[in-house]
Amino acid sequence: MRKLVAATVLVFGLALAGCQTVALPSLNLNTAVALNTVYGIENAYGVAVNAANAYKALPLCRTGTTPSATNICARRSVIERLQAAMLKAHLAVNNLVALQKAYPSVDITNALSAAQAALIVVQQILASGAR
């Protein structure tokens, strides 16, 4: 009898556990990783955009002058190159987010690489502006 009770409790417990498993929200690890990856790229892009806006807010360098400690200014040519690169980064990051959103389980590697590459170009131009 004791064995029967124990077995019943065990089966009932397993059934309950089964119900609980079904009731709990499922966490797709691949999706979580993709969301985190997209969010990380997005925030890196945010930092780059802010740096670019801070650079653009500087007074433009006068013709024939170069930026220095006593002449803090932004080069028009650098801003124009940054704008072209930023437009590409903008499209790449928005594509990445849209892809992940529309197809949560699809491989986002290519879109991710495109966004990373576009952001690296932005970073390089920003660094050249600081020189």
Binding site: L35, E42, Y45, N53, A54, Y55, K56, T63, A69
Partner: protein, 83 residues
């Protein structure tokens, strides 16, 4: 021996540097302050927090607005800012 004139010249250079930095400080400060939420979000990810779709959408909207601002054209070059 450093002369008074040399000290004065050094102070003038220092003053010019400080003036230049103070003049552009709001732009630099704005850039740094605006970046804080992004840096905090990255730190959160490194710390193990998980992003949600809502967070991604909200951040993208904010960044796209900042991007639009950056992509607005510069004033036309009248020849005095050709660099």
């Amino acid at each position: 021996m450093v002369t008074a004139a040399e000290i004065e010249a050094g102070l003038a250079v220092a003053e010019a540097i400080v003036d230049a930095i103070v003049k552009v400080a709001p732009a630099i400060e704005q850039g740094v302050v605006s970046s804080i939420p992004y840096v905090q979000a990255i730190a959160g990810l490194i710390g193990g927090s998980n992003a949600t779709s809502d967070e991604i959408d909200a951040v993208l909207e904010r960044i796209n607005a900042a991007t639009d601002e950056f992509l607005s054209p510069l004033p036309p070059d009248d020849g005095t800012t050709t660099t």
